[in-house]
């Protein structure tokens, strides 16, 4: 059966299908390459239409990719023409190294993306045609001295904060004008002289720290029974954050322990139970949110 004579195929398509099959066979494992090429070319002769032959050739390309990925370690009878003529069957066992076809394709795609991104960055960056920036001179300004704020050691006592008040007589900053015609910056006609350091009067705020207020729970109610039994005593300092209504705004934390975890836990429970019974910190008589430490003493009665 020779269907080759029945078909009417342009020679360029015939060459393309043969080239595809040859290319596909070359991609296959080396020991199978010649066998597959001869087999596929022989089976190609059974296809009559141009489209069918083209589909067959493209399918062979796909088949070679599958064979390459599937048969690197399998044993297939290569049966090259020379070996078949001698009656031998060769077993192939091919190792493709570290990179598979999939990995190589992945690296290739990643490289192309990187090259494309680099090209876009380098060609689209606004480096061409932009005028050179005008030359500017730097001027060193002297630091404005700051007044130190002193915080008293005892947070439970009254203390004040001095806040510098802005001086309305400080002259405005001179900004150099820009010439609209030339686009250059004109230097000010008068030499720049730093303004004299203003004398800032201190702003005094009367602040009264808060603490346990009326209705605060009794320490004895939170004295751990085991500590009573063991005779444990001590002072636990707990930090509380209280709003203007005397309620806790966050969970109390132990600042300094008493030496007994039981007493410290009891102090925390007491501090939590006292929420709503704290005396808020006041500034100029107005209650404000604040955080402050309170000391809770656990002492056994004699």
């Amino acid at each position: 059966m020779s269907q080759r004579n029945q078909r009417s195929m342009p020679p360029e398509f015939d060459g393309a299908t043969h080239w595809l099959i040859h290319h596909a066979a070359r991609r296959a494992p080396q020991s199978l390459s010649s066998r597959l090429e001869e087999e596929w070319l022989a089976d190609l002769e059974s296809r009559s239409s141009t489209l069918s032959r083209l589909r067959f050739a493209v399918g062979c390309c796909w088949a070679s990719m599958v064979i390459v990925s599937e048969f690197p370690r399998s044993r297939v009878a290569a049966a090259s023409p020379a070996a078949a003529a001698r009656g031998f069957v060769t077993l192939v066992d091919r190792n493709f190294g570290y990179f598979s076809l999939r990995s190589a394709t992945l690296f290739l795609i990643a490289g192309l993306h990187a090259a494309l991104f680099y090209g876009l960055i380098t060609t689209l960056s606004p480096t061409r045609g932009t005028p050179a920036p005008p030359i500017l001179e730097n001027q060193t300004l002297e630091d404005v001295p700051r007044e130190k704020v002193s915080v008293p050691e005892s947070l439970t006592s009254d203390w004040t904060i001095t806040v510098p008040k802005p001086d309305p007589e400080v002259p405005p900053l001179r900004i150099p004008s820009e010439d609209a015609a030339t686009g250059l910056v004109k230097e000010p006609t008068e030499p720049y002289s730093p303004p004299p350091t203003p004398v800032i009067p201190a702003l005094v705020v009367a602040r009264v720290a808060g603490g346990p207020g009326g209705g605060f729970p009794d320490t004895a109610d939170f004295y751990p029974s085991l500590s009573i039994h063991l005779g444990e005593q001590g002072i636990s300092i707990v930090r509380v954050c209280v709003d203007s209504h005397g309620r806790l705004t966050s969970d109390p934390t132990t600042v300094q322990g008493s030496g007994s975890t039981r007493l410290d836990d009891g102090a925390l429970k007491l501090a939590r139970a006292g929420s709503g019974h704290y005396r808020a910190t006041t500034e100029d008589g107005q209650p404000v949110n604040s955080c402050y430490p309170i000391g809770i003493r656990f002492q056994l009665k004699k």
């Binding site: 080759r4 087999e39 596929w40 089976d43 002769e45 399918g59 796909w62 088949a63 044993r75 049966a79």
Partner: protein
């Protein structure tokens, strides 16, 4: 040479190829013949043939013809082995041949 792995991943296309060969287990078929009978594309067909041959279900050999006198190149012919015939029978018995209908 170690023990050959005779396990084959069974796909629907593999079952169709086996079914073609099971119609007459002694016949030798080329890839083109299998394509004409079951319609599997070449990109799927030839890996299946190589897979079955690698697992020992098939053997293949070149056609004994004179290409110049036949007017066409020689083809690669595949045939079921006895082991392949037995395994294919087991596979179809497990499927009860109903899935391919």
């Amino acid at each position: 040479m170690g023990k050959k792995d005779t396990s084959v991943r069974m796909s629907l296309q593999t079952l169709r190829v086996l079914e073609v060969f099971l119609e007459n287990p002694t016949q030798q078929l080329a890839g083109a013949d299998v394509h004409q009978r079951c319609g599997i594309a070449s990109g799927t067909l030839y890996p299946i043939l190589l897979r079955l041959e690698s697992a020992g279900w098939f053997v293949s050999q070149w056609e004994f013809i004179d290409p110049s006198s036949a007017g066409r190149p020689r083809r690669r012919l595949y045939r079921l082995t006895s082991a392949g015939l037995r395994r294919a029978g087991e596979v179809f018995a497990s499927f009860n041949r109903g899935v391919l209908a």
